[in-house]
Structure formats: structure tokens, C-alpha cells
């Protein structure tokens, strides 16, 4: 027996009661954490009359049913709302990653007079509460007019474009921070070698640095997909009415529409939750990497 395995087995046997306590504590906490989620799924599968009569955590008196999902899909026009979210999410996500990778590249790979200052401006912009800027931003959006083929409201306010722009502007703060931390660690000689070979700034960005930054981009894409999809505040304020509202903020209104059927709303909210849950469980590794690149190097 090598010394290290001896230590291992000694420690394990010494800590046995401790291990039991450990698993009990973590498992109990996990069960408590699951209650709200399980509760919503459970409610979404039952007729509301049953819940109303016996309580949300009662044993089911009638059999489970997909009716709530079917009704929510049809009555609250879920496909259309997914589409509204898609036309905001896809351009905003692409622009955010494109813009912030360019800023991070020029600021972290070259040193010039204001490179650090600019990184600070972007980082600080993302740390500030969104509510600080909402009053002037709302008025500004109200004063920018758009032709009717770009916006149903005739203004930036209430248009898909407005939400794409503000999501891009706000999220590029965090992405610039993370990407500049990442790019800074790539060897300096890469740029110099490329320069000697005659590659200009754009080529150095697109053909040398970006391919090496792909792990960070992939991680951020997963994370930002979730953040932008889940955005609630910009959509609630800047897209108050209309058929173009993304799915998350329109769900907030369902309460009024079907105030007497919580189980129907439970099913609708599962539709809202599904895309982020799928992305999270499928790409958990990238997701967590996106959160921790910023923190570890910070």
C-alpha cells in the first residue's frame, strides 16, 4: 500500500459519520430547492378545479392531463411569442459578441492611450443598475422616429430594433470584460509574428486571435443567450404594448388574462422556461465556464 492510499482510507473511515451528515444536509437542501419547480410542473399537469379544491400540494384526485399545455399553446399564441423573442435574441446575441470581441481585441492586444480607460467604461456600464438610465432612455426612444416598415409604433420605442440595441449596448459591457481578460493571456508574440507577415489589424483579429478565443466566445454565447432571453426589464418598459413583445414580458400579462386559472399559467410558464433550461442542461459546461472566466481571472 502506498502512503497516499493509506492516508485516504484512514481519512475516509474517520469521517464516515461526517459523510452521512454531509449527504443528508446537501440532499435536504436540494429537495427544498426543487419544491417551487416541482410545484409548477405538478400544477401544469392538473386541472385547475382539482388544485383549487384540494390545494397545490394535494394528492391528485383526477388523472394528469396535457390540456393546460394544449390550451396555453393555442390561447396565448406561444409560437408567435417564441418568434418575437427569436428576432430580438439572435441579432442582439450576434452583435454583442461581435462588438465586444472587437473592443476587447483592440484594447487588450495593443497598448494605446485610453485602452484601459475604455475597458473600465464598458465594465462599469454593465455593473450599474439598469433603472438609473431608464427615464432618459425611455424619452430618447420616444423621440427617435422610424419608418413604419421598421417599427409598428413608428418610433424606436415599442420596436424590435430598440430592444436589440439596448440589449447589445448593455450586455457588451460584461462580454468586453470577460473577453479582454481572456485575450490578454494569449502570447503577445502572436500579433508581432502576424504583423511581420504583413497581416493588418483586421486580419490579426479575425484570423489569429478570434480562433484562439473561441472557447470563451462559446461560453459567453451560452450565457448571453440566457441573459438576453430572460431579459425582463427592457422589454417591460420599452415594449409596453403590441404584438411584438418577447415571450418573457408577455407572460407577466397572462396573470391578468387568465387570472382564474393558475394551472394554465403554470403551463405557459413552462413554455417560457423551456429554452433556457434546455440550453443550460445541454451546455452546462460552457455555461459555467462563461460565468467563471470573468471571475477567475478577475
Amino acid at each position: 500500500m502506498t502512503p497516499s492510499t493509506a492516508i485516504d482510507s484512514r481519512r475516509r473511515s474517520r469521517l464516515r459519520p461526517g459523510r452521512v451528515l454531509l449527504y443528508t444536509f446537501v440532499t435536504l437542501t436540494a429537495v427544498v430547492w426543487l419544491i417551487p419547480i416541482v410545484g409548477v410542473i405538478y400544477a401544469s399537469l392538473r386541472p385547475f378545479a382539482d388544485t383549487l379544491q384540494h390545494g397545490a400540494f394535494s394528492w391528485p384526485r383526477s388523472s394528469f392531463t396535457w390540456d393546460n399545455y394544449r390550451n396555453a399553446w393555442n390561447q396565448s399564441d406561444i409560437p408567435h411569442k417564441y418568434w418575437n423573442t427569436t428576432v430580438i435574441l439572435v441579432p442582439a446575441l450576434g452583435l454583442t459578441l461581435f462588438f465586444s470581441s472587437m473592443v476587447a481585441f483592440v484594447c487588450s492586444r495593443y497598448s494605446w492611450r485610453f485602452n484601459i480607460t475604455l475597458l473600465m467604461v464598458f465594465t462599469a456600464g454593465n455593473l450599474m443598475p439598469q433603472q438609473i438610465i431608464i427615464q432618459p432612455l425611455f424619452q430618447f426612444y420616444n423621440h427617435v422616429e422610424l419608418p413604419s416598415f421598421l417599427s409598428n409604433s413608428g418610433k424606436l420605442n415599442g420596436s424590435t430594433w430598440g430592444l436589440i440595441l439596448i440589449n447589445t449596448a448593455f450586455q457588451s459591457g460584461f462580454c468586453t470584460f470577460v473577453l479582454s481578460n481572456y485575450m490578454k493571456l494569449l502570447p503577445k508574440s502572436l500579433n508581432e509574428a502576424a504583423r511581420i507577415d504583413g497581416a493588418g489589424v483586421w486580419k490579426q483579429y479575425w484570423q489569429i486571435i478570434m480562433p484562439l478565443t473561441l472557447p470563451a466566445i462559446a461560453a459567453l454565447a451560452t450565457l448571453e443567450f440566457t441573459w438576453i432571453y430572460n431579459d425582463f426589464f427592457w422589454a417591460v418598459v420599452l415594449e409596453q404594448q403590441g404584438a411584438d413583445r418577447p415571450i418573457t414580458s408577455s407572460l407577466a400579462n397572462l396573470g391578468g388574462q387568465y387570472f382564474n386559472d393558475d394551472n394554465l399559467i403554470a403551463a405557459a410558464s413552462m413554455y417560457v422556461a423551456a429554452p433556457t433550461l434546455i440550453v443550460y442542461f445541454a451546455l452546462q459546461r460552457y455555461f459555467i465556464a462563461g460565468l467563471t472566466i470573468g471571475a477567475e481571472k478577475g
Binding site: 454531509l22 446537501v26 437542501t29 436540494a30 430547492w33 419544491i35 417551487p36 419547480i37 410545484g39 400544477a43 462588438f99 472587437m102 473592443v103 481585441f105 483592440v106 494605446w112 473600465m120 467604461v121 464598458f122 462599469a124 456600464g125 455593473l127 450599474m128 439598469q130 433603472q131 438609473i132 431608464i134 427615464q135 432612455l137 425611455f138 430618447f140 440595441l165 449596448a169 448593455f170 457588451s172 481578460n181 490578454k184 511581420i196 493588418g200 489589424v201 430572460n230 425582463f232 426589464f233 409596453q240 418573457t248 407572460l251 407577466a252 393558475d262 399559467i265 403554470a266 410558464s269 417560457v272 422556461a273 433550461l277 442542461f281 460565468l291 467563471t292 471571475a295 477567475e296 478577475g298
Partner: protein, 329 residues
């Protein structure tokens, strides 16, 4: 544009490379770089920083929105109103933000660190536990708000009512009476109910960040300390925690920022009184019954800005100046 002839003389090419390094951009590269930085910066500054400054300026006006020609300077009138006419809402919001700050540190932040520490002890099923604790973070607030409103806090058939209600209905989110009170202010019962929902979401976030930090701790350190006869708490307190200073700073920053900018869950679960925080007061002057009061809303926003800005600037300069030194070493 290195040419073949230059390469033939090694000494000359090295000298050339050196001058090139000093001049990083030549010709139209300068313009390419300027455009790559300029376009995103213009967007970010126009939509984030100019409105932030505009908030400060508008807080000294009585503008109700719509026509720009209606903007009139009124000095400190909005602040005077906030401190003397709406002081009930304002100080209650300030108290709630402070309570939230303390609560986040002693509650979910501490729990998140504890869970990370426990999961890091090669627990079986670590990934499953991690997924469970982190799921609330990826859910939309619209979903989270509905979950708590209807599944947990519903007055008649919510879980909290069924467990604690003795068969009576209980108005968890509407109960404005104080749990702890000091004079006209205090911590209301419905705000406590909201705090629990916030904790549910905040814990997993901290846990994931801390787990990433713990991966970098040399396990030999922990083993050595345990063999020395230190108990778990001593090992964490004197070995693990101090070695994770960078991640501790990040977590402290995130917790403070979250306490100051808390909005979504409170907005969704908000009842008209006693649960307000500063971000809600700002938004109420835009969307709520007092909607369209740009001047007063901006004054609330400016107060929030002042509370955050010192902290944010401190963190950001610290981060970049520190890493800057590191890069030059």
C-alpha cells in the same frame, strides 16, 4: 509589409521589428482599429452613459416627459419632495435595500459558499446537486415570480399556506405589518417573503462561482492541515478562505451590486407598499400610477447612481490597475 530583402540581414530585420513594435498601426490600420473600437463604443456610450448623465441633469427639472420644450429647471425641488413629502416610501426603500444587503451576505452568499465547499469534497452526484442549485438562476424572472406567487405564497392553496396556515388562508405577499419595526419604519412580513425568493435564486449563483475558485486550491494544503489535527472549520477559515482572495472579492462585489440593483423578483412579487426598493421607486415614476414623472424618477435614479458609483469605480479601477501591473511583470 516585410519584404524578402530585409530578411536577408538578420540584424536589420530585428531592428526593424523593434521599431514596428513601437508603431503598432500604420497606414489605414489606424482607421480599421478606430472603427473596431469606435462603433461599439458609440452605441454603448449613447445608450448607457449619456442617459446616466441625463438622469442626473433631469433630476433638477420638473419634466413630465413628451415635449422637450417643457423642460424647466427647478433646482433641488424633486429631492426636497423625496426627503420631505415622500419620505415614507424613500426611507423604507433605503431600509429595504440595506436589509437586502445584509441578508444576502449572511444568508444566500454564506450558504452558497458552504454548499460549494461541501460539493467540492468529492461528493457523489456533484453534478446533479450543482444543476439543482443552479437551475433557479437560468429561469426567467417571469417564471420565478409566478412560481412563488402561485405555488408557494398563494393565499388559499400555496404550499406555505398549507404548511403554516392551520387551514386558514394567509396573505404572505400582502401582509404589510412589520416583523421588526423601528418607529415608522421596519422590515415588513411581505418583504421577508420576497427575501426568501431572492435567496433561492442568489445561492446557486454564488455556489457556482465559488466551486470554480475551489478547483484552484491545492488539495494537498487541505490534507496537510487535516492531518495536523485542525478541524474542518479551521481548515476552511485559515487555509481555504484566505487562498481564495480574488474570488472572495468577486463574490463580495456581486453581492453588493445585486443588493443595490435588485429589481426583477421584487417587481413581479411587489405589493404596493412596504416592499419597495430604490429601483422600484425609479420605475414607478415611469410605469406606475405616478407615471410620466421624469424629474422625480430621475432624482430617485440619481440617488441610486450615487450609492453605486463609488463602489463600481473602486472595483473597476482596482481590477484593471492590478491586472495591468501583473501584465507588466
Amino acid at each position: 509589409m516585410a519584404t524578402v530583402t530585409q530578411v536577408q540581414n538578420p540584424a536589420a530585420s530585428v531592428a526593424k521589428a523593434r521599431t514596428r513594435r513601437l508603431r503598432q498601426f500604420d497606414g489605414h490600420d489606424r482607421w480599421v482599429a478606430a472603427a473596431m473600437v469606435g462603433v461599439p463604443t458609440v452605441l454603448h456610450v449613447t445608450l448607457i452613459w449619456i442617459p446616466a448623465i441625463a438622469s442626473i441633469l433631469l433630476s433638477f427639472t420638473n419634466w413630465k416627459g413628451i415635449r422637450l420644450s417643457d423642460i424647466k429647471w427647478v433646482g433641488f425641488k424633486n429631492y426636497d419632495q423625496i426627503f420631505n413629502a415622500f419620505q415614507r416610501n424613500f426611507f423604507q426603500a433605503l431600509i429595504n435595500n440595506s436589509v437586502l444587503l445584509v441578508f444576502l451576505f449572511v444568508g444566500p452568499t454564506a450558504l452558497g459558499i458552504l454548499l460549494a465547499y461541501l460539493l467540492d469534497k468529492d461528493m457523489r452526484g456533484k453534478r446533479i446537486y450543482q444543476a439543482i442549485f443552479f437551475t433557479p438562476v437560468v429561469l426567467s424572472l417571469a417564471v420565478v415570480g409566478f412560481m412563488w406567487k402561485s405555488v408557494i405564497y398563494s393565499t388559499d392553496n400555496g404550499l406555505a399556506t398549507q404548511v403554516f396556515g392551520d387551514g386558514k388562508s394567509m396573505d404572505w405577499l400582502g401582509n404589510q405589518s412589520f416583523f421588526v419595526s423601528f418607529g415608522d419604519y421596519g422590515i415588513s412580513n411581505n418583504f421577508l417573503a420576497i427575501l426568501i425568493a431572492i435567496a433561492w435564486r442568489h445561492t446557486g449563483y454564488i455556489m457556482v462561482l465559488y466551486l470554480a475558485g475551489l478547483k484552484s486550491v491545492d488539495s494537498a494544503l487541505r490534507e496537510a492541515a487535516l492531518l495536523d489535527g485542525s478541524n474542518e472549520w479551521q481548515v476552511f477559515r485559515h487555509v481555504i478562505f484566505p487562498s481564495l482572495k480574488p474570488i472572495n472579492v468577486v463574490i463580495a462585489v456581486i453581492t453588493v451590486i445585486e443588493a443595490l440593483r435588485a429589481f426583477d423578483i421584487i417587481f413581479v412579487l411587489n405589493t404596493p407598499r412596504k416592499t419597495e426598493v430604490l429601483s422600484i421607486l425609479t420605475t414607478n415614476n415611469l410605469l406606475g400610477e405616478g407615471g410620466g414623472n421624469v424629474g422625480r424618477g430621475s432624482a430617485y435614479a440619481t440617488i441610486l447612481f450615487v450609492l453605486c458609483v463609488g463602489f463600481v469605480v473602486w472595483y473597476v479601477t482596482n481590477h484593471y490597475l492590478k491586472t495591468q501591473e501583473g501584465a507588466e511583470e
